[in-house]
């Protein structure tokens, strides 16, 4: 593989379809059922597929101290529902070539089902049962929980699996955005089926959820089917979590996580980012493309192309409803750990030292616009887009004005936004590697805290 994958830089990034066409979000129907459930229906007929998605504002920020509770709940929905056992559901979906999955993040949980359109009548009611009538079978729950704990232990074998959550915890501390979505080994062990049921009944409600269906169907008929299938779901008041902003860090901290047989050092450096609805989010996506979100970005050019220190270096914003983080990340052999860290910081400081020139800015603008359409090409991708827009309270202008926002960015504005928004002082560090060999030098970057990859808790 030539490249370490470059994800676009915002966790929720959208741009316009074309430099030529005035892109509009494809037409869709939005309705609210009597019980308060929001429904989006978007027809797409290129292939005979339908993507169904239910999103609820129930995520790891709602875990309290029971880290992993939202994740275990999201997974438990399909352990038997309505008339079907867990195995019967799995067999039925597989027999029809359907793909089911659930995804839990800090602020929401999504269950999704991709099916052939001819199977709609048979499988949509099953999906509805999964959301509305989970059985929460104790035997299945216990089995899956044990398996999940084993996987959490196995996750610790690979630095890449844990560094993101470790950074979040270091940065956010006890703020709910610091909650590890996957949970801690000890916290997950202690979660009971009763807690899962409580979480489900308090968070999975019609008024706290949206159903999105995109694909090869007829809207008029589907409106009727959906109204029948989901009408029994109740609404109730949902308890909100206090997401008041935390105080910014007043000094640099460094978590050094020991992996005894490490043959390289994996590291992440960062600080305060932006919320998903930040007014400059589009401009920041373009700027971050220049810094670390494409192959010719400054970070990749310096750390990979010019020096051969790493296979890939990048930067990204991780944004949530209220705030977010910004991180630079890469990996290098043990011997060049500090050479790579210093070069990453020096390169990052170009935002302030040299700034962005016109040619680079124009290139990044073209790149961001040119790479947009394939991100919203399939029914599944469009369903995810609508789910994100709903859960973050964004309207269509978010999509439809994207191109205008990209085009309106000039050099002066880009430099002004870069200098005022990217975090410069009191950066936070996580290093995963062989601690004994890198500890002394690591101390000079911030207040150090040592832990072990197998035993540390978020």
């Amino acid at each position: 593989m030539k490249k370490y994958t470059f994800a676009l830089c915002l966790a929720f990034a959208v741009t316009s379809f074309s430099t030529l066409a005035d892109f509009k979000l494809p037409k869709y129907e939005k309705l609210t059922l009597k019980n308060g459930l929001t429904v989006y229906l978007m027809e797409q007929h290129e292939v005979p597929l339908v993507d169904i998605r239910m999103v609820s504002k129930a995520g790891a920020i709602n875990d309290g101290k029971h880290y992993g509770l939202a994740t275990l709940t999201g997974d438990a929905l399909s352990y038997g529902s309505g008339d079907l056992t867990k195995k019967e559901i799995e067999d039925l979906f597989a027999f029809h070539g359907a793909r089911f999955g659930s995804n839990v993040s800090l602020e929401s949980t999504s269950s999704s089902l991709s099916i052939a359109s001819k199977d709609m009548d048979k499988l949509l009611p099953v999906f509805s049962d999964i959301i509305l009538k989970p059985r929460f079978d104790k035997k299945e729950f216990d089995k899956e929980k044990q398996r999940y704990v084993d996987r959490l232990i196995q996750n610790r074998e690979q630095p890449r699996n844990v560094i993101g959550s470790a950074f979040n915890k270091l940065y956010y501390g006890s703020h709910p955005y610091g909650n590890p979505v996957e949970g801690n080994i000890s916290s997950v062990k202690n979660i009971s089926l009763k807690q899962v049921k409580n979480f489900y009944h308090s968070m999975y409600t019609a008024n706290n959820s949206a159903l999105i269906i995109v694909g090869d169907f007829k809207t008029a008929q589907l409106v009727k089917d959906v109204s029948v299938l989901f009408s029994d779901w109740k609404s109730k008041k949902v308890k909100t979590v206090n997401l008041d902003l935390m105080k910014p860090a007043d000094h640099s901290k460094l978590w050094l996580i020991n992996k005894e047989d490490a043959i390289e050092t994996t590291f992440m450096i960062g600080g305060k980012g932006i919320s998903s609805s930040h007014p400059d989010r589009v401009a920041l996506q373009v700027i971050n493309t220049i810094l670390g979100a494409r192959f010719t970005s400054w970070l990749n050019d310096e750390l990979r192309v010019n020096s051969g220190l790493t296979y890939g270096a990048r930067s990204r914003f991780e944004s949530h409803a209220k705030t977010g983080t910004f991180v630079v990340s890469t990996f290098t052999k043990k011997k060049t750990t500090f050479e790579a860290i210093d070069l990453a910081i020096k390169t990052y400081h170009r935002l302030w030292d040299k700034g962005i020139d016109k040619k680079t800015l124009e290139s990044a603008k073209s790149y961001v616009k040119g790479q947009f359409p394939p991100r919203y090409e399939t029914s599944g991708q469009l369903a995810r887009l609508l789910a994100n827009m709903w859960s973050l309270n964004l309207d269509d202008s978010f999509i439809n004005n994207f191109q205008k926002n990209v085009d309106s960015l000039d050099v002066a504005k880009a430099n002004q936004i870069a200098k005022s928004t990217f975090p410069k002082e009191n950066l936070q560090f996580v290093l995963i590697g062989k601690a004994k060999d890198i500890k002394e030098k690591a101390k000079s970057y911030g207040e150090i805290k040592e832990m072990d990859i197998n035993t540390f808790e978020y």
């Binding site: 292939v47 070539g97 073209s366």
Partner: protein, 444 residues
């Protein structure tokens, strides 16, 4: 990790009134220099792609230059006559395009994704590096570091990668599938400029490529640009044939790999199977799906769900020009003795050997293949990659549209037969990766 690529690239049935791609939508032509080009118009988004598949992979290497195919994949981005070092990426990104590339045991593929108004720029960039690559000494040295980091981070973050390298080395003692695509570190450190120049001349010849362009383009415009940019590139003598045939394995082989940080054992079984062009391909790929695709598969049900001996399991059979391997991989649950897991895996295989599979299981695999094909056809990248793959490994892109009907010809007896023929002990290599040192008292 590509899991069971075979099931992702399947076929088509009655397509009702939808706009799904039909075989006749694909247009194919060959330039005078032997370069084969496929074009599929799709105007659903204002983007297009170009996938260039070169028939060169680690099977074309030999000891001393292992990993060179993959290294070359990197060097193709490091400068040519018109577009010097760094220019390929800079020009492409400024035009709104992005790219990547991958190398396997059999092929090297380059993938360009771009707004359709950048089509000519992409032709110009690709033609320049195919015809006039300039191998810069300084770039070679920095790229050695990059590839070393890619190798290291793979070993650090993937147990499968570490174990597969050892299993392949044991399963193949003659054929070049023996070494990993990334190559041996000592070869990465030592190949010469001469090796690189020769490799480019031999394998990056237009008569050794299949190019697929899909998206918001017209066949007419693609033909014009192909004639302008690719047709002038000279054909080369056909590369040396890979004639080495792996001697038949006549007894089980075993390897053990120690990785102190693993929390539970990983096990990888590999069985020799024929090339993708062989008539047993579909029975074997369907057997792989029945065993390991998804939560309703036999191995998942038995090992992960019911007996709880493993946390994950999958099967994998790469597309391949020469006879290769059928892999079964499992990760043991915490505290489970790997010997018990191994025995349970063999029990499941034996069950198919003796009892065969159910008719419903065959139907399920065909249904999955069919819906997965629709998923593939829902993106221009899925179309380009899959058409190219079928063209290379199955002899024609049209085989993509025949896959489900080809699967329909496979019987329950066929599955039982291939299980008995290939998934036997004497044809098996077993690799185990675990944390403890491979020593015992009195036997260090």
């Amino acid at each position: 990790m590509n899991k069971l690529l075979a099931i992702c690239c399947c076929a088509i049935i009655s397509l009702s009134a939808s706009a799904t791609t039909q075989p006749e939508d694909v247009k194919s032509f060959t330039l005078k220099n032997g370069m084969k080009i496929l074009v599929l118009e799709d105007h659903s988004i204002p983007n297009a792609n170009m996938y260039l598949f070169w028939k060169v992979g680690s099977r074309n290497e030999y000891p001393g230059i292992t990993g060179l195919s993959h290294f070359f994949e990197h060097m193709m981005f490091n400068g040519s006559k018109k577009y010097g070092p760094k220019q390929f990426d800079r020009v492409m990104e400024a035009a709104g395009g992005a790219n990547n590339a991958y190398t396997s045991e059999n092929i090297t593929a380059y993938t360009d994704w771009f707004p359709s108004n950048a089509l000519e720029t992409i032709f110009d960039l690709e033609a320049d590096r195919i015809a006039n690559l300039a191998i810069d000494k300084k770039m070679v040295e920095s790229e050695r570091g990059v590839v070393t980091s890619e190798r290291t981070t793979g070993l650090e973050n993937s147990n499968f990668r570490m174990l597969q390298e050892e299993v392949k080395g044991s399963a193949f003692r003659a054929h070049p599938y023996s070494w990993g695509v990334i190559g041996h570190q000592s070869d990465i450190d030592n190949w010469s400029m001469q090796d690189l120049k020769q490799y480019h001349k031999t394998y990056y010849a237009p008569n050794n490529a299949v190019v697929v362009i899909a998206g918001d383009v017209t066949v007419k415009e693609v033909k014009r640009l192909a004639n302008k940019y690719f047709a002038p590139i000279k054909a080369q003598t056909k590369p040396r044939k890979v004639h080495t045939v792996e001697p038949k394995q006549i007894g089980e082989r075993r390897v053990y790999v120690q990785k102190p940080s693993v929390s539970s054992a990983n096990i990888l079984m590999a069985f020799h199977v024929p090339a993708t062009s062989h008539q047993d391909y579909y029975p074997l790929s369907m057997l792989a799906s029945i065993l390991g695709d998804g939560r309703s598969s036999r191995l998942y049900r038995s090992l992960v769900n019911d007996k709880r001996l493993a946390t994950s399991v999958f099967t994998y059979m790469p597309n391949s020009f020469d006879p290769n391997l059928f892999y079964i991989y499992a990760q043991a649950s915490n505290g489970v003795n790997v010997a018990i897991l191994e025995k349970a895996m063999i029990t499941e295989i034996n069950l198919i050997m003796s009892e065969g599979v159910k008719s419903k299981e065959l139907t399920k695999i065909k249904n999955i293949a069919q819906v997965d094909l629709f998923r593939t056809l829902s993106t221009i990248n899925g179309k380009a990659n899959t058409l190219g793959t079928y063209s290379l490994f199955f002899g024609s892109y049209s085989k993509m549209f025949d896959a489900v009907s080809d699967m329909s010809k496979v019987t329950q007896d066929d599955i039982k037969r291939v299980a008995n023929e290939y998934l036997v002990r004497s044809n098996r290599t077993v690799g185990i990766l675990d944390s403890s040192e491979d020593s015992k008292e009195g036997d260090r």
